[in-house]
């Protein structure tokens, strides 16, 4: 990995006033002389401020703020896959393809992305609206397969529901987060099978007991 493989980005980068205050609070969590420990949250903050990707200027800025050699920051930023060193679309579609999601049909989800957006993993649509990437376990295996769209999880997907999800986004609307097949969180399909009375009190219809 080297800088020549990534876009140059802006010449300078600075935190906004709000983010600067937040950055100071993050740095203050670490004992004196251990400020470099704040590098990961600060990089995340910089990435959120800068359209979800980290230009070199931002990494240098964080390095200067923490008194680190810039290369030490490049090492961290290039090691972790959740830091984007290239621009990504407004909707950053992270499709989990690790075993549980794959067994439950993540191939279908990826294929739906390809059908709808015309891009495969690692690509960005020409209008800069969508980037699709494959990610390792998103940690929501009970609701596999899963897409993490920016910070929001869309779960229990299949081909058609993924297409519907993307359609909603293309229309400029915000789809309802969570399971896309009618499940409530990670409760069984069809409704709760335990704690049924509590479910009824909360207005949820339990699974029919036959």
């Amino acid at each position: 990995m080297s800088a020549s493989e990534t876009p140059a980005g802006p010449a300078t980068f600075e935190f906004t006033a709000d983010n600067l205050a937040l950055a100071q609070r993050i740095i203050a969590k670490y004992p004196e002389g251990r400020q470099a420990s704040a590098v990961m949250p600060l990089l995340d903050l910089a990435q959120r401020q800068h359209d979800n990707w980290l230009p070199r200027a931002a990494m240098d800025y964080v390095a200067g703020m923490l008194g680190m050699a810039p290369i030490r920051v490049y090492e961290v930023a290039s090691f972790y896959t959740m830091y984007n060193l290239k621009p990504v679309g407004k909707h950053f579609v992270q499709v989990c393809t690790t075993t549980p999601c794959w067994l439950r049909g993540s191939d279908e989800v990826l294929a739906a992305c390809k059908r709808k957006l015309g891009i495969g993993p690692g690509e960005t649509t020409a209008d800069g609206q969508f980037t699709v990437v494959e990610v390792e376990c998103a940690g929501a295996c009970v609701n596999a397969p899963v897409i993490s769209l920016n910070d929001v999880y869309y779960e229990d997907l299949d081909g058609p529901s993924t297409e519907a999800l993307l359609d909603t986004l293309i229309r400029g609307e915000t789809p309802k987060p969570g399971p896309q097949n009618g499940r409530i969180n990670s409760a069984p399909i069809g409704g709760p099978t335990t704690l049924t009375e509590m479910a009824q009190r909360n207005g949820v219809k339990p699974a029919s007991q036959e």
Binding site: M1, S2, I71, R72, E75, F79, T81
Partner: protein, 688 residues
């Protein structure tokens, strides 16, 4: 003191010794790639696996401290199988390009693959390839060969003090490099080539030049600064092909500066290969007889007070003594070896050497740098200060221009009068120095070359005396010289005798016609146009500034071409050894002076190097103590007086070109272009 058993041999080691070091003490060789004695221990190559009793699996011996009652086995089937496995993984992505690799023949991976490699690959997948990086004019990279030992990262981080190397990406995509396109801007960068165990980082100027088994190796000493780094000169067929460091814990450990390592191509350019005589304003080739006869005639024809001699920065002790004996015997008093106009003299040996020794820096807890940039004036001294800094508990204070020394400094300012203030206790820093356990000051040679150099010298002595730098068991007064010849010349008293002229006096006298003959022994750092109408004899090895003005040129030998003695800034006498012959008709310097004494009809009383060395030892006993530092008795030196308020200026403007050899070097010119010119342009705003 833990006691352990290695391969059935019981031994006791110092606490903190690693298993690998304990094995080395027994002479058991443990293969390794990432472990390096001078660097931190990451234990990431896994090649040094050994078996430890009661451990469920092999352990990395470099990172395992010896414990009481440990039983280690280094030669079992498990160990061999484990190491073979590691080697097979290392070789998965390593190209099989040994025949075209510069590391071939001195490659750790190659050597260890003989012992632990498999005779075929079992890996059928695609190999990975890595783009090469541009690390500047000295280091060539072929990154596909890299085995990720991270020695280069640790070296640049820990020893060189420039954190530019790193490992970016992860897993299969991990790459060693600088991430951003950047040359490794360190005066120690050449050592990266040495620490790299494979052919990923190799020497750019030496690329495709020779194989190690073709080279003749000569152990010698570097003279391009006053540190006296120990070097090994590799030659083939009368040509110096490369220079490598040689281990000397007291001086350079196992590093050398880039100038030491790469300036040797200057030995092939601009050489004076035969005598020359100036006729009608033009130099013409001449024979030795002619040149010596002319020189002798001119020396005989002038009155002794109208003759002067100036010795240069690369002059060896033998030729200095011979010239002093020859001219001194004729009654010449104007001998000068301080061609920077320094006020230093031989009043007290403790006043002009690095008393605490370079290794002694590691004991200091407070260092005051006066008008010096040790990074450029003695790169290995700076590396030693950095080593001490990394151990913790050291404060470095700078009086002089603020420069990046690779470690944090406290800046007192750049007002030379502060020296007086510290000496009389009116400056608060005096208390800091007094409170320190082992305080140390380093006086730059540039500070002594000021018009008030003698007062600066005396003021530094006053600081040393007032603040307790000089004690029974500790002498923290140090002068950091730049010229390899300087301490030797001072030890021999190659200085104006009674009634003699110093540098300014010689130049002045030459302009006014009062000095008629000037003998330059490799003196190139003075503006030779100042010699007026004087007859200039130049003895040296490069057609540099001195030779351009010369009326007769006596071609001498460079430091790789003669057996000579140099005294480093610590006062340590060391011998260079002849690795090649002088070019053309050039001769060893002392022999030229001996021949000249014959032509003058006053032959010097030594015909062999042994006789001359004996004479050297008689002249000053330090020359008999080769490679040892004799502590010098403290005495008075300098001229008490007020130090002028002028700020200190640094004498070295370009680290890569400080003498006739490095000025002739193409590699050093490239380094200047890459590292110095951009910085100068930035400072003066002359670019674009």
């Amino acid at each position: 003191m833990p006691k352990l058993t290695i391969d059935g041999i019981e031994l006791e080691v110092a606490p903190g010794t690693s298993v690998l070091q304990a094995c080395e003490q027994l002479g058991i060789e443990v293969p390794r790639f990432c472990y390096h004695e001078k660097l931190s221990v990451p234990a990431n190559c896994r090649m040094c696996l050994v078996e430890m009793e009661k451990a469920p699996k092999p352990i990395a011996s470099c990172a395992m401290p010896c414990g009481e009652g440990m039983v280690i086995k280094t030669d079992t089937d498990t160990v061999h199988k484990a190491r073979k496995g590691v080697m097979e993984f290392l070789l998965i992505n390593h190209p099989l390009d040994c025949p075209i690799c510069d590391q071939g023949g001195e490659c750790d991976l190659q050597d260890q693959a003989v012992g632990y490699g498999f005779d075929r690959g079992r890996y059928g997948e695609e190999k990975r390839a890595v783009k090469d990086k541009n690390l500047g004019p000295l280091i060539k990279t072929i990154m596909t060969r890299c085995i990720h030992c991270t020695r280069c990262i640790r070296f640049s981080d820990e020893i060189a003090g420039v954190s530019v190397m790193g490992a970016t990406g992860r897993g299969e995509h991990m790459e060693i490099g600088t991430y951003v396109e950047a040359a490794v801007s360190s005066e120690l960068s050449g050592n990266l080539v040495d620490v790299c165990p494979v052919g990923a980082l190799t020497s750019k100027p030496y690329a495709f030049t020779a194989r190690p088994w073709e080279l003749r190796k000569t152990e010698s000493v570097d003279v391009l600064d006053a540190v006296g780094s120990n070097i090994r000169i590799d030659t083939r067929g009368g040509e110096v092909l490369r220079i490598l460091p040689r281990l000397n814990e007291a001086v350079n450990e196992e590093w050398i500066s880039d100038k030491t390592r790469y300036a040797h191509d200057g030995l092939k350019r601009q050489r004076l290969d035969r005598p020359y005589i100036r006729e009608n304003g033009k130099l013409r080739a001449a024979s030795w007889e002619e040149a010596l006869a002319l020189t002798a005639a001119k020396l005989k024809g002038a009155a002794p007070e109208k003759i002067a001699a100036i010795a240069g920065d690369l002059a060896d002790a033998e030729s200095l003594l011979a010239l002093k004996d020859l001219l001194g015997g004729m009654g010449v008093a104007s001998l000068e070896s301080r061609q920077d106009g320094s006020a230093i003299d031989a009043a007290s040996r403790a006043g002009y050497i690095f008393n605490s020794t370079i290794a002694g820096i590691e004991q200091a807890d407070q260092i005051l740098l006066i008008g010096t940039n040790p990074r450029w004036e003695g790169a290995l001294v700076n590396a030693r200060i950095r080593k001490r800094y990394l151990q913790g508990g050291l404060t470095v204070t700078v009086l002089g221009p603020r420069v990046d020394l690779t470690f944090p400094i406290e800046h007192l300012g750049n007002d030379a009068t502060l020296l007086n203030a510290i000496a009389d206790g009116s400056h608060p820093y005096a208390e800091t120095l007094k409170a320190a356990k082992k305080p140390l000051l380093i006086l730059g040679s540039g500070a002594l070359a000021r018009p008030d150099g003698a007062a600066v010298w005396a003021a530094a002595r006053a600081v040393a005396e007032a603040c307790g730098l000089v004690r029974e068991d500790w002498n923290g007064f140090n002068v950091l010289h730049r010229a390899a010849s300087r301490v030797g010349a001072l030890d021999l008293g190659f200085l104006p005798a009674k009634g003699g002229r110093d540098l300014a006096g010689i130049l002045d006298g030459a302009r006014k016609g009062e000095v008629e003959v000037v003998y330059l022994l490799g003196a190139d750092e003075i503006d030779a146009q100042n010699f007026g109408r004087a007859f200039v004899i130049y003895q040296g090895h490069h057609g540099d500034r001195g030779a351009h003005r010369a009326d007769v040129i006596l071609p001498g030998a460079a430091y790789t071409e003669k057996n000579a003695t140099y005294v480093n800034t610590e006062g340590r006498a060391q011998h260079t050894r002849q690795a090649t012959f002088p070019v053309g008709e050039a001769r060893e310097d002392w022999k030229i002076i001996r021949a000249l004494s014959g032509a003058l009809g006053k032959p010097l009383p030594y015909d062999t190097l042994q006789q001359l060395r004996k004479r050297l030892a008689d002249a000053n006993p330090v020359f008999a103590q080769v490679d040892r530092v004799t502590p010098a008795a403290w005495g008075a030196f300098g001229t008490a007086g007020a130090v002028a308020a002028a700020p200190f200026t640094l004498p070295v403007e370009n680290f890569y070109m400080t003498d006739a050899i490095s000025r002739a070097s193409a590699t050093m010119a490239e380094c200047t272009e890459a590292f110095v010119s951009p910085a100068v342009a930035e400072r003066t705003g002359t670019h674009g």
